[in-house]
């Protein structure tokens, strides 16, 4: 009697639990189904509560993230397209000025009735224009390749001393012209993660600026300082300097400082430098007191021990 009842009860419990489990599995599958449907439909608005401490809520949250990542990819693609477009328009804009001046001088020369002195003058200007164009083209190509990712930088451990001296040698002539001395404080040569070719380019750009905006007979200092994770390379000049409001702008494409409008330049050097550093996991900062001193600090990653 008792035994029979126990068996009955046990059987009932089994049936009940099987039934409940079956219903639970059904419900769970239905929910997962809904979630997948919404992923396929690229819809982030799921009806499930995402802020619960439960498995389903977690699943929903992840589904929404997938959808958002997808749409973010789409947005990013669009942004890249836009970048190229603006790059193109910037390029055409930048090339317009030298091109139009060249064609103007050529027109004048074709008209004739010019003194030989004037002719000479115009030819030199045309030559300068084409040189500038060439340089511009060069920079633009580098930039666009970097920007779009056509060139991959390959940061490898390499001694920093060589890189710095390479970059100095690139501006040595210009510095000598203004009688500007470039001095490096003594430092230990350490291997840093960087792509030497491009890093030399970035450093040269910064040095070129320093030479360009410094008065004659001044000094440019280079110092190296090791941090736990990065090594900081400072380039200090005593030129016109940059007001704090402009600190961010100077790294923008084609931006020209307000107080250096007179000086020749395209506004590409610092942009390129920051781009190059970013691409190899470093960064560049500026600190300046106008008319006193200006320091550009480049941060390159130390090699992992």
């Amino acid at each position: 009697m008792v035994l029979a009842m126990t068996i009955c009860l046990a059987a009932l419990c089994c049936v009940l639990s099987v039934f409940l489990s079956w219903r639970y599995i059904q419900k769970t599958y239905a929910a997962i189904d809904t979630i997948f449907d919404s992923i396929l439909a690229q819809k982030a608005g799921l009806s499930f509560e995402t802020e619960l401490d439960s498995r389903l809520s977690k699943l929903t949250h992840k589904a929404i993230k997938i959808v958002q990542m997808n749409s973010a990819d789409v947005v990013q693609l669009g942004q890249e397209k836009q970048t190229i477009q603006s790059l193109l328009s910037d390029m055409s804009h930048q090339m317009k000025t030298p091109l139009s001046s060249i064609s103007m001088y050529i027109d004048l020369l074709l008209e004739g009735n010019l003194s030989s002195g004037e002719q000479r003058e115009f030819f030199t200007r045309i030559k300068a224009g084409t040189e500038k164009l060439g340089w511009l083209m060069d920079s633009l190509i580098k930039m666009s390749r970097l920007e779009v990712g056509a060139i991959e930088l390959a940061p490898v451990p390499a001694g920093i001393k060589q890189t710095i001296s390479d970059s100095i040698s690139m501006v040595l002539a210009a510095a000598a012209k203004k009688n500007i001395s470039i001095q490096a404080e003594p430092f230990m040569d350490t291997p840093l993660l960087h792509d030497r070719k491009w890093t030399v380019e970035a450093m040269a750009n910064v040095l070129e600026n320093a030479v360009k905006y410094s008065e004659a007979n001044s000094k440019i200092c280079i110092s190296v300082e090791a941090l736990p994770l990065y090594t900081k390379i400072n380039f200090t000049d005593h030129g016109v300097g940059i007001a704090p409001e402009e600190w961010n702008s100077i790294f923008k494409r084609f931006y020209r400082g307000k107080n250096v409008k007179m000086t020749d330049g395209a506004g590409l050097g610092l942009y390129l430098a920051s781009l190059i550093l970013e691409k190899q996991g470093g960064y560049i900062l500026v600190d300046s007191e106008p008319n006193k001193d200006t320091t550009f600090s480049m941060f390159l990653q130390n090699c992992k021990k």
Binding site: T28, D53, S54, R55, L56, S57, K58
Partner: protein
Amino acid sequence: MKNNNTAVIHRLIRRNLKANRKRNFFLVAAIALTTLLLGSIFSIGFSILDSVKMEQLRLSGTTAHAAVGRPTASQLEQLKQLPYVKSVGTGYQVADIRNTPEMGGAYLFLHFFDKTDWEQFRAPANTDIMGDYPQAEDEIMASRGALDLLGIHEPVVGMEIPLSYCPGGEENDLQNKTFRLSGWFTSYSLMTQTDSLLVSEAFAEKFEASREKYLAADILFVEEKQVSEYFERLKLDLDIPADQAAAVSQSNERGEEAQVPMLLALGAVAVFFILTGYLLIYNVLYISVSRDVRFYGLLKTLGTTPKQLKRLVVGQILRLCMIGIPIGASAAFLFSVIAIPAAIGAWKFVSTGAVLSFSPIIYFGAAAFALCTSLLGAFLPAKKAAEVSPVEAQKFTGISRPHLHRPAHGKPYKMALRNIFRNRKRAAVVLLSLFLGITAFTAVTTLAYSMGVDQYIDSLYQNDFVLYDQSLFSDQPAQPFDDSFMEQIAALPGLESCHTLLQEYMQLGYSPEEFGEYAESRLEKLYEGKEAFTEEDIRKSFIGFLVGIDGMELTELQSAADQKIDISAFDRGEIALIATDNPAYFPRVSQLHVTPMELSTDGENPSHGTEVQIPFGGFAPQSLESDGSLAPTIVVSKSFLSSLYHSPAIREIRIDVADGYEKQALEALKQISGNNSAIRRVSKIEAVSVMSGARTVMLVLGGGAALLLAFVGILNFINVMSMDITVRKMELAILESIGMEKRKVRRMLLFEGLGYAVMTLLLSATLGNGAVYGIFTLFKLQVDYATFTYPILPVGLVFLMIFTVCLIVPEIIYRSIAKATLIERLREKE
């Protein structure tokens, strides 16, 4: 489906436990203490219940629920078929043992029990069973009491015991036989005067007449709780006629109600323990959570949900419980094994030896209650941790209400008072736990002190020694108190007074109007209504005792009672008294008709003297009553009694000796009475030693428990104080930096400790003592000889201790933090 994120919480629990060793110690101590105290209380309660139950069982001598006398064969057959009857045993008295003079007044029988009856009903009610139930015809088993009466003090299996007996109680059929002892046991049955010698079935079979006359069926019902219902059904089902004896066993008539106040008191104590345990656990955890607010806030910031935080706090306490509860439970077990038998024995709850209950309920119960207490204690702290606001937690510094207005000029005691009540809840918890500890201690010591041995002994024993003639009630009185004995008594060292009490048989004139009610109550008590008596029967057997006493001594005894007796008339033999505490039985008695009786040497055919009539003059104390007779005991003056009898027997001798002579007198008395089994001795000094043992046990156990409680209170105080000062480290450093001297800071902390001590003192002096008196009043209901005695010395000592702790603890903690220089302390964060 729940999220699968418990592992990390377990890790946090583990790590947090590791990081808070001091706090864990406090908590484990609190949990273990709670378990220990609860386990001990439960153990005491259960053991008392079991002991009382066992006592009832042993005293009644059987586990059977009911008995039916002289069952017919068909009734027996029917009995075994009844669904509510679990088992049936039978047995009968085979023969009366012929008394020998050494046996005093004891009656011995040869009794037979069948296998069921012995194994299931009788054996469990006896202890120390050696050997087996008799099998062979000449085998015999006896209780130690019976063997003692037979003069055998060191029994050996197989020893020969010659006995003469009368089968079926027929005097003229005397038989002799030598039995072999097959076993013995200790019995506690009330009827020690009528102990049984157990015989084998082979022997019993030969006495068919005895079987017919005395056969009884012992019955065990299936359910203990419904004995009386089953019994009624049984009477109907078996169709038991009115003249057939059938009764429910005594042990089932008395319930456990008698223990209810005791159990209630134990329950109250348990609640008390739970409360103190709760307070300590709550306080330690709450302080810990408050201190770690940043930690919980950070966890919440990082995404630990309120539920997970709760689990984190509760999980810690659960793990600590896993350590604390087993410790406490094993301590409680040890305590039970060591202390409880002593306690129950000493407190005289039972007379048949204490039974230690090892019921698993005790330990599971204690563990469960301790667990509940711990969880309850963790509830609010867990809630606090769960409700932490992440933003607030980031700003938390540990000071709840900054109060730095003009501190340098504040008086230290004023600042101390403010500091105490800065966190009111905490102050309340500390005060409450200190208060509870002290009150518990005061209560226990008050009870122990109030249970003074002297008061108790004086209430029980009027005289230093009393000697009783035990053989007085037997067929052959031994008359041990002869003239030479009395001479020896008179020579006792330091004897102050010696009074004798005389006692003889008498027949009392009966009339239903005067004695009907009383006689009925006696019949009920003596025969349990098993036998029917006619009025004529009662009149014939209305035999009782006449007790003779000096008027002066009666006055002493009487002083306790209210009634006034004309002592001079009593001395002159003009009035007689009835010894009872129940005057309501005798509302219409005016004259007493007393016929002196003297028993012949063979105990039969008493000779009656001439009836005398004496006026009834009031009531004498019950202590003078000689129990066991149908008629009430009549008290008259000694001279009057002597005039009625040839040589009246001395019932008892009451002896008082001068102070300081008690021990010598006791030794002398031991020598005088020797090992005369007829003399029973009761002495105050022997009782005192037993009683003071009881008091010591109570003091040690109760005082120990109470001290533990006081200790809990002090632990709480130390915990609060040390946390408080550590948290206020920064604040104290700031106070010092803005010009408060170290001396002043220390004074302030000292005043804080003093504040707690004084407030505790005030609370326990008012509320606490009120509660103690209430508890005493309850106690007095149980132990009526207690007189209220306030334990000034122990309470004073405890207060001194609390004052010392309250004053020293802040100083010690301050010193430990003040070691660092001020600058270091100011710089330090967290």
